[in-house]
Symmetry: C2
Subunit: 228 residues, 2 copies
Amino acid sequence: MKKLVNDRMNPWPCIKGKDIPATIDLDPVIYNYAPTCAMVLDIGCACGKVSIPLSKHGYSVTGIDINTDVLELAKDSSGPDWSPSPSFLKGNATALPFPDETFDLTVMQAFLTTVVSKEERDRIIREACRVLKPQSCLYIADFGQTWHSKIYRERYINDLPVTKEEGSFLACDEKTGECDYVAHHFTEKELVFLLIENGFEVVFFKRDTFVTRTGNRVNGFVVVGRKS
Amino acid sequence: MKKLVNDRMNPWPCIKGKDIPATIDLDPVIYNYAPTCAMVLDIGCACGKVSIPLSKHGYSVTGIDINTDVLELAKDSSGPDWSPSPSFLKGNATALPFPDETFDLTVMQAFLTTVVSKEERDRIIREACRVLKPQSCLYIADFGQTWHSKIYRERYINDLPVTKEEGSFLACDEKTGECDYVAHHFTEKELVFLLIENGFEVVFFKRDTFVTRTGNRVNGFVVVGRKS
């Protein structure tokens, strides 16, 4: 059985910025769910792969991440000071440093996959709900459990004694074999209940295929919830 | 709580042929998994919606169903005697009336959804495996659990005390409200393990969207397993 070195359940505050994956592309459906000039919060923004295009689209974007190093990369990627660019700041998704009803749109792009406790995911969605204006939306794109893939089927099953949650697995460095972090892949039911039990109704749901950092094709979901 | 009148868990031998739904269209991928002039068995063939086009394609098709009435409809739809047409015969999918290794392809199109016991589904897949020649394939197209749909989410949950299986629900007559039959919608995990635990490896897997007999859009799967 694989073992977790140190605290691999949540290595994200300390991991090197360049080692944080940012693989999924933004689905253009997002633009249907925010007004022009919207105030947007990108939660778990990493190197700004989503924040920066949203900012160029004309939104007023704040990117938040728990990792200081990756925020420096994000700032460096934003372009010159005179061009529209996101604000990046350090913060924890379970306790967002913003008043209630601040944003017109919150975004979690391949972020929830890194949160490997159901209780923490619930807290995070409630926080995303709290900072949204009434009737505003949360956009989520994330990985789905991919049982038809022998690789992932075996990961979910073999790593279950360590992860204690079906659909979670140890993402390991291909060279050293050491576990970099634990990731979770969702079922449709999990994602839907995560939203409807924490203040949202589901207004858009799409099954997609995403490519992981290691080049595997896996199931993915794009979901939009409206604050209800 | 809804109640089941008579034996609605398995009304299929007695239901009127014209009331048996046949909604999903054949996915052309099927033609990649059978040689020209293949011997094909269509299990739960109903009115021949799949058997007939497969026969016109040049396959030698046998359609089997537990319902005598629907087999008459299938024979009537097959066209004149001189044209290539399937053989239709009455039989039970849990005990197929064929020797081992008879067929080059077995087909279950929206059939497993009507089998509302896991044990029976396991038996049926093992039978489909038994009658296949070595390395030959089973094609399945069936409905997936659709948790993002409020209609289906509520059905799965409300009917669980009766169905005793998550993803199953009572399909009711829209006019009388009376339960016509019980149906099961699958998770990806269920379908994959149904195959790999009963003699197959998964060689093709596609997530699709199907339309039900009542016009609802739901998740669907097209899966091909190879006898391993």
